[in-house]
Amino acid sequence: MKNSNKLISVLVPIISVLLAFAIGCVIMAVLGANPATALQSLWIGAFGNTRNLGTTLARATPLIFTSLCACFAYRCGVFNLGGEGQFIIGSVACCYVATQSGIEGFPGILLCLIVGALAGGVWALIPGLLKVYRGQNEMIISIMLNYVATLFMGVVYTNWLREGNVPQTASVPDATKLSRIFGLRTTSAFLIALVVGLLIYYFLFYTSKGFQMRAVGLNMTAAEFNGFAVKRYVLFSFVVSGLIAGLGGSAELLGTQYRLINGFAAGYGFDGVAMALIAQLHPLATILVAIFFAALRVGSTTMQAATGVPTSVSDIIQALVIVFTVAGLAMVKLPQIKAVMDRMFAKKEAA
């Protein structure tokens, strides 16, 4: 039984991806391109050489952070849709420290990352507290706070930290920028993301507290009957998930963007939630899914240049993967369908 569940949870996203690509290929063919060539150029664009690979990984980095953020909270049964806001608040705080404190170099980097992470954590505390003490829907509140954060960032780059005529902040000092790794076009931000992913994986599956938090996420009533401090875990998960997003915002600022500007982080939050769901809330799978999506985004430019298929076809494919996976996961949970599948697998296991 356990194997059948695992199999289904892997199969649903894979089938969704295949379906999405099939539809993508039909669209390409209708547009007069050869789908095989288009897919090939998509692949080359994303992974064809070290330069492209680096770009893909750099694009994947912020997505890894926001999807880990969503993944962590959801593991505790709460839906943090505010990853984007926490990411942004983290980067704003980081930007402040990086440009105003005068501390540069490694200590500066460390301080920036810590402050950014903390800011994200504090921002996530708001929906967490309202959820625990007012019983409010954490999803609506965290969505609202995303917009507040985005607008607040707007205040920062158009007013408070504006540099010159263009509405953007000054760049972080060179000494505070994250360095590139392995000669790729990606920075140590990617490594930080990997480490965070591994830490979360370790916490969830190898520590007692992580175990208990998962238990809370899967069945809050039973967890309470078994003596776990449910409210505390809910708050904790919100704060940690905010910390992850805030750290991501800081790493993105110091590693890739260097300055706050209009459109910074736009869409990362919801993308992250979608990716965490596709990865079935497994932190390591989350990283892979984020890289997959980043590859689709980076590779589509090459595809457009080589075959004339517009990059938005890639957006459609990504969106379809999400639409199909979420529907598929809901479908296999329906009682009728579940009964059919259980019977199917029961037969297989008996045989």
Binding site: M1, K2, N5, F205, Y206, T207, S208, K209, F211, Q212, R214, A215, L218, N219, T221, A222, A223, E224, F225, N226, G227, F228, A229, A339, E349
Partner: protein
């Protein structure tokens, strides 16, 4: 009397489980027909079939002699079947008036003609003595008034058959009298009533005929005049007294838990406790007998720290409990087999092994460095050991707990709760829905725990179970302790009557 409704060989299956099996029932015009049965006897399922919420798996339904198909609630309404659910189906955000006219199909027009509708409702309410304040929001009227709204709602839709599901459950005695007056008026006008209740006194007062359901099947139908409370109680519980397998203890050890005048939501008869005093000593099993929903769940949750009592004191191993938290009680070696194993006992999506060690992952046995590293091998080996010891049948300890059968799920909980050598075990309906083998195993285990000096508080709606293992029997009714009886040679008659509130 003329027949109104006839049910023939109706069955309803959920998965492999028969909630109703081969039910036969005839309702005459103008009678109050009581359905009597324990919780889980299949009364609610049968009623949901009658009102079109469930489709029967087999069998047929006749109305006025004609075969009918009730495939939707709308159809049931059309056929003149109305139900007052135990949990009222009232929309809280709306007024009394709006609730009554909701879903109305009898009148034409798009708009609500308030004046005309109100006139109709007032007429109806005066005819049957159902006075309600039409313009009040539902949240602002008392429970008894809400019930009248429900009855009016059904009558307004032209109900000829009214199903009342435990209508007296939430009412005060005076309100119950009012309800009975209304019921008599209704039957006097030729309407039929299906009355669902556990309360023997009320059943005997109001019914014309009584049908007993047990384990999803009809046992028999009796005329009120030809039966009495004892017979009904025996039929409902379904027992011939068999001698217990276990030796009963008469001299318990020092008290593990003592309750003194404990109140919890006192005004609620069915979900509250009122002045409950009882003790459980070391090495004895105290069985709480009573029909479900007389405060037993609340009692269990108070002595496991889930609920905080409003008044009274609870002593645990001789010292007064100041703070009621589940964790505090767990630290005092109180174990709990909760009433709903899937909702409260197990994390269904976790594996058997995870559920076995659920409470103890912080201990050095299962994790190193204060919980920072789970000893997965130790956990697995321990789980394998428990699997053998408690005879948990699963493909592996890595199987998800929700996929186990009920009996094996309960054994997982037993393994978790009993291995810690508890001082007090609170077991609520521990064998509900289990087969004979699993039931026997669980009884053996509880008695074994008793032998080791553990105090056991057993709460069960299954009277046989109470008689089988209890050293002392406490009967609860409407949140109060009705009496304490010896478990050795128990006076069955007295206990049955106490359970029925006499």
């Amino acid at each position: 009397m003329e027949e109104f409704l006839r049910i023939e060989h109706v069955s309803k299956k959920f998965g492999d489980f028969y909630a109703n099996k081969d039910i036969d029932l005839t309702i005459r015009k103008g009678e109050v027909h009581t359905l009597l049965g324990e919780n889980g006897a299949g009364k609610s399922t049968l009623m949901n079939v009658l009102i079109g919420l469930y489709q029967p798996t087999a069998g047929s339904i006749y109305l006025n002699g004609k075969k009918v198909r009730i495939d939707s609630p709308a159809q049931a309404v059309k056929l003149g079947i109305g139900m007052v659910h135990q949990h009222f189906m009232l929309v809280e955000a709306m007024t009394v008036f709006e609730n009554i006219i909701l879903g109305d199909r009898n009148t034409k027009g798009i708009f609500i003609d308030r004046e005309a509708r109100k006139k109709e409702i007032v007429e109806l309410s005066q005819r049957y003595g159902l006075d309600v304040e039409l313009d009040k929001p539902i949240t602002e009227i008392a429970v008894g008034a809400q019930q009248r709204v429900e009855i009016l709602k059904a009558l307004y839709r032209g109900a000829e058959l009214l199903i009342l599901d435990e209508p007296s459950a939430a009412l005060t005695d005076i309100e119950v009298e009012g309800l009975f007056d209304i019921m008599r008026k209704l039957t006097g006008e030729g309407k039929s009533i299906i009355f669902i209740s556990h309360k023997m006194r009320e059943v005997l007062r109001i019914s014309d005929r009584i049908t007993i359901l047990r384990a999803g099947q009809t046992v028999c139908t009796l005329d009120r005049d030809e039966t009495n409370g004892e017979e009904l109680a025996n039929l409902m519980i379904g027992r011939e007294l068999t001698p217990s397998h276990y030796e009963k203890i008469t001299q318990p050890g020092e008290p593990v838990v003592a309750l003194e005048k404990v109140d919890y939501h006192k005004e609620s008869k069915h979900n509250g406790l009122s002045g409950v005093s009882l003790t459980v000593g070391r090495g004895e099993i105290v069985g709480i007998a009573g029909v479900d929903g007389n405060g037993q769940s609340q009692l269990a949750q108070v002595v496991t720290g889930v609920l905080t009592p409003d008044a009274g004191r609870v002593d645990l191993k001789g010292s007064r409990v100041a703070q009621f938290t589940p964790n505090g009680f767990i630290l005092e070696s109180v174990s709990h087999i909760p009433e709903d194993r899937n909702k409260m006992g197990l994390i269904g999506n976790m594996t058997v092994k995870d559920n076995i060690v659920l409470k103890s992952t912080d201990t050095p046995q299962f994790s190193a460095a204060h919980g920072f590293f789970l000893k997965k091998r130790a956990i697995r080996e321990y789980a394998e050991e428990m699997k053998t010891k408690y005879d948990i049948r699963c493909t592996s300890v890595e199987q998800e707990a929700r996929n186990l059968s009920g009996g094996n799920q309960q054994k997982v909980i037993l393994a978790r709760e009993l291995e810690g050598k508890p001082d007090l075990l609170v077991a609520v309906h521990p064998t509900r829905g289990l087969d004979i083998g699993a039931t026997r195993f669980i009884h053996d285990t509880m008695v074994e725990a008793r032998e080791k000096g553990c105090g056991v508080l057993l709460i069960s709606a299954d009277f046989d179970e109470i008689l089988e293992v209890s050293d002392r029997i406490v009967v609860m009714f409407e949140g109060q302790v009705m009496g304490v009886f010896s478990g050795k040679e128990p006076p069955i008659q007295e206990i049955s009557l106490a359970m029925a509130g006499k």
